[in-house]
């Protein structure tokens, strides 16, 4: 059994079955792609996994722990971190503070420590700052640590979303269209970054992406969703040849649509 075990998860919004009977078994260290045309239910699946919407059916397990019924913050603390397709940074706070906030749940001081500025508090603050700066370095944001997050360029904001998610020290990282809105150079860099980060932190990654080049190159396996249903699952080569996938895409938007996400 894998690290992230999803069994028959589904949800309907009114009459719309956004996701149905989704199954996935992610082994530790996997880098799995999740693709599908617009409105296929990919983001909704992330919302189900992270507890934003409670699933109507099915169970989600992280290791031995059942995540159903937990609040989103409990799921995040249990080790399931995510980024958002429509960027949700803490815009008015600094880049550094964005990352530091995600360190909160790993903190060991009480509010009283903070009010009295005890040595414990200083130690924690230093540790958090050091760690956050390390993460920002990895994502090449350390030079802008002091700026408001909203002033970062688009690509920078996407990278900050990833850095912030990593500050949770997660076991599984869910990336929702991290390349959306990036230019070609940024995408190349991102490609290496995702792999690096996975190896360095021993992560398991589930990646939603419309950029087929990126997905085909870095993902070991790919699941294809259409109208809330898994229509194919396999290696990139198998997926590329799968007639059902081709049809789903031709029936919807062009395969290598480079700039979705901004809607």
């Amino acid at each position: 059994m894998g690290l992230l075990d999803v069994q028959g998860v589904g949800i309907a919004f009114g009459g719309l079955k956004a996701v149905q009977d989704f199954r996935l078994d992610l082994p530790k260290g996997a880098l799995q792609g999740l693709i599908g045309p617009n409105g296929a239910g990919k983001t909704t699946l992330f919302n189900l996994l992270t507890g934003v919407y409670p699933p109507d059916t099915g169970t989600v397990k992280l290791g031995d722990r059942v995540l159903n019924g937990l609040k989103p913050h409990q799921i995040a603390q249990a080790g399931l971190a995510r980024t958002f397709q429509n960027i949700r940074l803490f815009g008015d706070l600094t880049v550094l503070d964005n990352v530091k906030i995600a360190c909160w749940s790993r903190g060991w001081t009480t509010t009283l420590d903070a009010l009295l500025r005890t040595p414990r508090f200083r130690a924690e603050e230093n540790a958090i700052t050091t760690r956050s700066m390390e993460l920002l370095q990895i994502f090449e944001l350390d030079k802008r640590a002091d700026e408001s997050a909203r002033f970062l360029p688009y690509g920078g904001q996407r990278r900050l979303e990833m850095a912030r998610a990593l500050a949770l020290d997660p076991k599984v990282l869910l990336l929702d269209e991290p390349a959306a809105g990036m230019n070609p150079q940024e995408k190349v860099a991102l490609r290496n970054l995702i792999r690096d980060v996975r190896d360095r932190f021993g992560l398991t990654v589930l990646l939603i992406e419309h950029d087929m080049g990126l997905v085909m190159e870095i993902c070991e396996r790919i699941t294809v969703l259409d109208h809330g249903v898994v229509i194919a699952s396999g290696t990139p080569i198998e997926i590329q040849k799968n007639p059902a996938v081709i049809e789903a895409y031709l029936g919807a938007s062009p395969v290598a649509d480079a700039s979705p996400g901004a809607h």
């Binding site: 983001t43 919302n47 934003v52 958002f84």
Partner: protein
């Protein structure tokens, strides 16, 4: 039984006043998504304007024409309609798209402004024309424009004189005018193309403007209508109580707040909800006053609010909205 009838009648009368005011709150909230705190002051000015009109036309004694009430009502509705239009134009429109808290604070500012201009002490400007504006710092009594004999008076039990139930012309006026106006509004919102435009803007202003609806115009009209209804409530309130507190008295805001509570209880943004909520608040208040304690009226209303919000935050007739992620 007498108590029950009396409380029901008072409840419906007071409730229909709340409903009239609530409509203004709910229509503005539906479209601009903010609590128009100045609305309670438009209501207050509606009461005072009608009083001023009576003074101007000399309807101060018992001998006044039969149509006096209608003149005062329509006059003050027109004046408040114009006022609502101006307020929206000068204070709220420049803030379109600003954070809601800013609009809210501005509304509080407008409210303070109206209250305090209203009770400036210098009557000299207009006094020579018999118009009493500003209204001064003291409560005043309002001439009754209707006969004060009961229209209908019956005893439930002829053996006991204290089971007498009186139906006064004022009550008929209050309930009659309020329901007529509500029926008209109902027709306007659901039966005309203007109403369709209003509903469209309330549902999604951006899309509505893409569909060629002039959002600014709809907003202006909404303010005019809401303010005119509040003015009607103000006039009726004056007739029912026959006295008005000075304009900066906290009572006005409190009445306005209770009307907003009515809007929320009914489901904010929902015209029928505001009517139902207004009646409900009026009945709760009057029954509480009759059967429990008069002093705790406000308590019943605000407790009802909290209970409704906790169990059905979208209000009794409202629809829940879920944020998409």
């Amino acid at each position: 039984m007498t108590k029950l009838l009396q409380a029901s009648m008072d409840g419906v009368a007071v409730g229909s006043l709340y409903a009239l005011i609530a409509l203004g709150y709910t229509m503005v909230y539906g479209i601009l998504k903010f609590i128009n705190f100045a609305h309670s002051d438009v209501f207050m000015l509606g009461a005072w304007f009608s009083f001023a009109i009576c003074g101007f036309l000399g309807y101060t004694t018992a001998d006044h024409p039969v149509y006096a009430a209608l003149v005062a009502l329509i006059g003050s509705m027109a004046m408040c309609g114009a006022l609502g239009f101006t307020i929206e134009r000068l204070a709220y429109r420049p803030l379109r798209g600003a954070p809601r808290i800013n609009v809210l604070i501005t509304a509080i500012g407008v409210s303070l402004l109206l209250e305090n201009v209203g009770q400036l002490n210098s009557n000299k400007f207009l006094a020579e024309y018999g118009i009493k504006f500003p209204f001064g710092t003291r409560p005043t009594s309002v001439p009754l424009l209707l006969p004060d004999q009961p229209l209908l008076s019956f005893a439930l039990d002829s053996a006991h004189p204290n089971t007498l139930v009186n139906v006064l012309p004022v009550d008929v006026l209050v309930i009659g005018v309020a329901f007529t106006l509500m029926a008209l509004l109902q027709y306007l919102v659901f039966g005309t193309s203007l109403g369709r435009a209003m509903r469209a803007v309330s549902y999604d202003a951006k899309t509505a403007s893409l569909m060629g609806i002039d959002v600014d115009r709809v907003v202006s009209i909404t303010f005019v209508i809401g303010s005119a209804l509040a003015a009607a409530a103000g006039f009726l309130y004056g007739q029912k109580l026959q006295s008005l507190r000075q304009s900066a008295d906290g009572l006005w805001v409190l009445l306005g707040l209770k009307a907003f509570v009515a809007a929320v209880v009914g489901g904010v943004g929902n015209v029928r909800g505001a009517m139902a909520g207004g009646l409900m608040i009026g009945l709760v208040e009057q029954f509480g006053a009759a059967y429990l304690s008069t002093n705790l009226r406000d308590l019943y209303v605000f407790s009802l609010l909290i209970v409704v919000l906790l169990f059905k935050p979208e209000g009794l007739l409202g629809k829940a909205v879920v944020e998409k992620v």
